[in-house]
């Protein structure tokens, strides 16, 4: 089994989950509680990767980050390198592609917390931020954890978008899925089978964990 690819995949999954926790939590909290008329638009954008083929998303990301685009030029002048075919590029793609897998469970977790519990806290003099940390988060954490597990597992098996943005550079962008693809392409079925089995067991364990967490969602 390609241990370098395993290490890289683990790193990518951890970073993607971490970034999505930082971006996704406030976004999901806003979507769960907001009465804004534009909420549907944000929800649609978040859900887009669910219906869009990874190759299409990958194509647009390549286009946005190329030297011809303003963003690509700005990024290059800031960092001295381009996003495509780097680990950072793959991470950005992975974060965008996994947005619904993290944010949707987060929204469900926040929505499951009865609003009247928050109102009770406010009437007891608790500020909104204290209420968030002392009431919302403790009650929503199983759902949030389940979103994190889903994101982690999904990143583990990503293929299309990683290939589009990162290509197949060992130690930089070559994840386990890409390794399987290459093994099959070079008729190395034994290695492909071994890696595939590891991914299968891993996916099953992750789903079992998500199921266990969902059973712990608050029943208020």
């Amino acid at each position: 089994m390609d241990l370098v690819a395993l290490r890289l995949t683990l790193l990518l999954a951890c970073c993607t989950t971490g970034v999505l926790l930082v971006i996704g939590l406030p976004l999901a909290h806003w979507l769960a509680r907001s009465r804004s008329p534009w909420k549907w638009l944000v929800e649609a954008v978040v859900a887009l990767p669910l219906v869009l083929p990874p190759t299409v998303l990958g194509f647009y990301l390549l286009w946005c980050t190329s030297r011809r685009s303003m963003f690509g030029q700005a990024y290059e002048s800031l960092t001295g390198q381009m996003l495509p075919f780097t680990f950072t590029g793959v991470l950005v793609a992975s974060v965008i592609y996994n947005l619904p897998f993290a944010v949707r469970p987060f929204i469900a977790a926040f929505s499951a917390v009865d609003r009247r519990l928050l109102e009770a806290a406010w009437c007891l003099g608790s500020s909104r931020s204290r209420t968030f940390w002392r009431v919302t988060m403790p009650l929503a954490w199983p759902g949030i954890l389940s979103g994190m597990v889903l994101t982690f597992a999904h990143t583990f098996g990503e293929f299309g978008i990683v290939l589009m943005i990162g290509g197949n550079i060992p130690g930089v962008t070559r994840t386990l899925s890409i390794a399987i693809f290459e093994d099959v392409d070079s008729l190395n079925y034994a290695a492909a089978g071994q890696t595939s089995f590891v991914l299968l067991v891993f996916a099953f364990l992750m789903l079992a964990l998500v199921h266990a967490l969902q059973r712990r969602m608050p029943q208020v």
């Binding site: 009865d114 009247r116 519990l117 109102e119 009770a120 806290a121 406010w122 009437c123 007891l124 003099g125 608790s126 500020s127 002392r134 009431v135 403790p138 009650l139 608050p218 208020v220």
Partner: protein, 357 residues
């Protein structure tokens, strides 16, 4: 002296507009009940006072502060109003034990722990402080919710249907408990309820609401027994509405007549020129006596007898065709088709305007 609470406001939802009117100039330690049918806007009034809803128009002033005034873009957050809100289902934090629930809103002072201990003791929760809300009975949950609200040292208590989640003996027991706590803590309180028994047991003053409007307010007994119109009479439990002609008016009330049946009633007609009105009569204030058909004018034919707890609900028909309902002791034996004479408890009828709605 400015009133401690002065609020006139509106809050609209699709298809319904709620107008709150509250003005308390004196006696701020009284318990006031907001009473009315489900969906009439009672809870919305409480939520507006607590700052949980923003007003569409109007103003709420309390304790010398403006709490809400959309015209001036003022909306004091619930955290800064000092309103203790007791929710219908108590809304205890399910992930916190009894002690942590009570301590949640207690001000962070060096003696916070001692204060919480004192409240736990007072509400007989000392042995339960490590339990979680799901492990408590309805009565224990109510005590925790009250202790939690009081730990935050509120200036005003708002209780939203505090007994509606309960039934039977538990409800009776908790009604007595709640009455005790309310008397003991001497805080101004507003209670929302649609149960007249709860209101009589808990409140000093009563505000009757219907269709988002305040219809009548005053001391509980006064509003319950002297409704100003048919709508209020219906809400506070009058069941019989008999069209009458005014025969005589004196300082003690009115003498009225309905097709030969004469009785006296309280004058709630708004004009002394009015000669017609509606007599509102509670079912329990009608007295029935078995009689031969030719004995008296105020007689009625019994249509139906329905047992109702210790009482018997009797549906009657007057010679005029008017249907009445009477609640009589179950021991009285009446049968359908029999004739009975009707009598009224003294001054139990309230005569209101015919066109009052």
């Amino acid at each position: 002296m400015s009133p401690w609470m002065d609020a006139v406001f509106t809050k609209s939802y699709p298809g319904v507009s709620i107008r709150g009117e509250l003005n308390w100039a004196d006696r701020p330690r009284r318990v006031t009940a907001l009473f009315g049918p489900s969906g009439c806007g009672k809870t919305t009034v409480l939520r507006c006072l607590a700052g949980l809803e923003r007003l569409d128009a109007g103003v709420i002033r309390a304790f010398g502060q403006t709490w809400s005034d959309p015209g001036q873009r003022i909306h004091v957050a619930p955290q800064h109003r000092g309103v203790g809100f007791l929710f219908q289902d108590y809304m205890l934090f399910p992930h916190l034990n009894v002690r942590d629930n009570v301590a949640f809103g207690a001000p962070s002072q060096p003696d916070q722990r001692a204060q919480v201990d004192q409240l736990l003791q007072r509400f007989q929760l000392a042995g339960l402080d490590r339990r979680f809300p799901r492990e408590l009975s309805g009565g224990q949950q109510q005590r925790v919710a009250l202790a939690r609200v009081l730990a935050a040292q509120p200036r005003l208590l708002c209780l939203d249907e505090p007994l509606s989640a309960l039934d039977g003996p538990t409800r009776t027991h908790l009604r007595i408990e709640l009455r005790k706590w309310l008397r003991e803590f001497q805080l101004p309180a507003l209670i929302v309820s649609h149960d007249a028994i709860d209101i009589q047991a808990l409140a000093d003053d009563l505000i009757v609401m219907s269709d988002g409007q305040v219809r009548q307010s005053g001391p509980v007994e006064e509003v319950l027994h002297q409704p100003v119109d048919i709508t209020v009479a219906r809400i506070v439990g009058f069941e019989n509405f008999v069209p009458v002609k005014v025969e005589q008016r004196d300082s003690e009330g009115l003498s009225v007549e309905h097709v030969g049946w004469r009785f006296r009633g309280l004058d709630q007609l708004r004009s002394s020129n009015t000669s017609e009105g509606i007599a509102c009569i509670r079912a329990e204030d009608l007295r029935l006596r078995k009689i031969n058909a030719d004995e008296a004018a105020s007689l009625a034919t019994i249509l139906e007898c329905i047992p109702e707890g210790a009482m018997l609900r009797v549906r009657l028909k007057l010679p005029s065709g008017q249907i009445l309902q009477a609640l009589v002791p179950r021991s009285t034996e009446f049968r359908s088709g029999e004739t009975a004479s009707i009598d009224l408890v003294v001054n139990a009828a309230v005569i209101v305007c015919k066109d009052s709605r």
